[in-house]
């Protein structure tokens, strides 16, 4: 009896050790960069690296934020009506339509990049405008906005809308006063996922960025390729990851994790 108990106990301990070893491996690249970003030329602590981030890299960070905000706006404008139509109205070929709309998520970044840079060059003439970059980001991330919205709308009983309409609300009023607040967590989940992806995107950006515009992740990529490993580059990468992590933590605290169901963030 006690041997069974012991072996079970041992298995449990081993399980938790396994989980923690994996988790530590996940954060090791980040921690290594964090440590490196605090080293100076003489091996001393150098907070200057982070001053550099907000000095020399400031423009890049500002661009990243601008592109993210614009992309999220477009994502919302496109995904809010689309999700409502997909869930609430009878549409023919709904399943295929949904798959076709979410397919951009599975196209490799380099393929989206080369396809867009060529069409921008020769058909749309968008190469010098930031809208080219924003729309490229939007097409890649709006499936991430759409999926949580669809899940949230499906979980929302239709009786709320029926009640509102019985009381004389128009369709428009029903949507903004009843549906929109109730699917708030779903919307936030979509915003979070899209933000994380857009904010850290470097591959499509590498192809379609307008001349003179470098987002922060692209700056990291360029610097790693051309200048080798510099503590200042590590500081920028660390800053980007910390900003993303704070966004995730804030979401977890406010909404919990269940609204991310059906998306790829568990």
């Amino acid at each position: 009896m006690s041997r069974v108990f012991n072996s079970r106990r041992l298995g449990d301990i081993f399980s938790h050790v396994y989980i923690w070893v994996c988790l530590i491996i996940f954060v090791t690249p980040f921690l290594a960069l964090l440590g490196y970003s605090f080293t100076g030329p003489q091996g001393s602590y150098a907070i200057q690296n982070f001053q550099y981030v907000f000095g020399s890299f400031r423009n890049n960070l500002v661009w990243s934020f601008k592109i993210s905000v614009l992309t999220l706006l477009i994502d919302l404008l496109v995904a809010l009506p689309a999700s409502y139509a997909l869930v609430r109205y009878p549409l023919r070929g709904k399943q295929i339509l949904f798959s076709a709309l979410t397919l951009p998520l599975y196209v490799p970044g380099a393929v989206i990049g080369i396809a867009l840079v060529l069409t921008y060059n020769f058909t749309y003439h968008l190469t010098t405008s930031i809208w080219g970059l924003v729309l490229a980001m939007a097409v890649g991330t709006f499936p991430l906005m759409l999926t949580p919205l669809v899940v949230a709308l499906k979980d929302l009983p239709i009786v709320f809308e029926e009640a509102a309409q019985c009381l004389g609300a128009t369709k428009w009023q029903t949507y903004w006063k009843v549906v929109f607040p109730l699917i708030g967590p779903g919307i936030s989940a979509g915003l979070l996922l899209s933000f994380i992806i857009v904010f850290n995107e470097y591959l499509v950006t590498l192809f379609v960025h307008p001349p003179g515009l470098t987002t922060a992740p692209l700056r990291v990529f360029n610097l790693v390729r051309t200048a080798g490993l510099l503590p200042t580059t590590a500081a920028l990468a660390v800053t980007m990851q910390l900003i993303s992590f704070v966004a995730v933590l804030a979401f977890f605290r406010i909404f919990g994790t269940r609204y991310l169901k059906g998306t790829y963030l568990i």
């Binding site: 954060v27 090791t28 690249p29 949904f98 393929v111 590498l206 390729r225």
Partner: protein, 284 residues
């Protein structure tokens, strides 16, 4: 008459609501994909020449003659990282679903790889450099730093870290739908753990495992930063990287769009099956 009018306006609303999404995807995804598909059948940059494009299938011949190693190495990298994710992901997902109560902490840790393969590869490169924190470990194994840095295992390792959460998510979702009493029943009936795994758990979570594996493979086929920062230029030349070199640096649009098409086919064949197994039921 009135009913007909209303019916029509309702249909217009429906179409109007979903139209922006359709337009966005067609204009910025499907049309560009058709565009590069057409371009992949033209000579170099003849697509732009005033005398009109010169059509050819030489690009596809070049793919099989000269660039087959790139295709194969891309498949190999994606396949190996999928395998690593499967082997380490299943136990992880099992423990996470059955034994762990601090799941939010695990989720918090697991978001780090998702911020991008670039940071993972950058961090790994720093770890593996001579004098990096992995040096004692590597010395214990009898491996030189530079040997480890520019090698297949380190590329696969970085790719696996990047996609591990996707695998765990897919398997975990499937596992949480399996009643734990089934395992207990199997154990009561005298099945050993390995038998329980093979005869009960594996068949019941098969769809999740397949979906996860295909998803991971599909994502890793487009690998770009990891081979560039951690691999050697001669051996781990992924398709995505060669595509960038050919298309943007050397402006050989014919060849680079051909690589794009091949990459797309690789990603889509697996995605097709993946969607059938995982997301298909979302709108039912």
């Amino acid at each position: 008459m009135e009913a007909q009018r209303r019916e029509r306006s309702a249909r217009l609303t429906r179409v109007g609501l979903i139209l922006p999404a359709i337009l966005l995807t067609i204009l910025f995804l499907y049309y560009p994909l058709v565009f590069i598909f057409r371009m992949s059948f033209t000579v170099a940059d003849s697509f732009l020449s005033p005398s009109g494009p010169v059509f050819t299938i030489d690009n596809y011949k070049a793919m099989t003659d000269r660039y087959l190693p790139n295709v194969l190495v891309t498949i190999k990298l994606a396949g190996l990282s999928t395998l690593v994710n499967l082997i380490f992901g299943f136990p992880f997902a099992y423990i996470l679903v059955r034994k762990v109560r601090y799941r939010d902490v695990v989720r918090g840790f697991m978001v780090f790889p998702m911020f991008g393969a670039l940071y993972v590869a950058f961090g790994m490169r720093f770890i593996l450099l001579p004098g990096g924190i992995a040096t004692p470990l590597l010395q214990a194994l009898g491996v030189e730093n530079t040997q480890a840095l520019y090698s297949l295992p380190s590329v696969v390792f970085a790719m696996s870290i990047f996609t591990f959460p996707f695998m765990v998510m897919n398997i975990g979702t499937a596992l949480s739908n399996v009643d734990p009493t089934l395992e207990e029943a199997a154990a009561c009936l005298g099945a050993r753990p390995l038998q329980t795994f093979g005869r009960v758990l594996l068949p019941l979570t098969r769809s999740g495992i397949i979906a996860g594996a295909l998803m991971v493979f599909g994502w890793n086929v487009g690998t770009f930063a990891e081979p560039l920062l951690l691999g050697s230029i001669n051996e781990q030349r992924s398709l995505a990287w060669t595509l960038y070199q050919r298309g943007v640096v050397q402006t050989d649009y014919g060849l680079s769009t051909t690589m794009g098409v091949v990459l797309l086919i690789l990603a889509f064949t697996v995605t097709y099956f993946s969607l059938r197994y995982s997301r298909g039921a979302l709108l039912e």
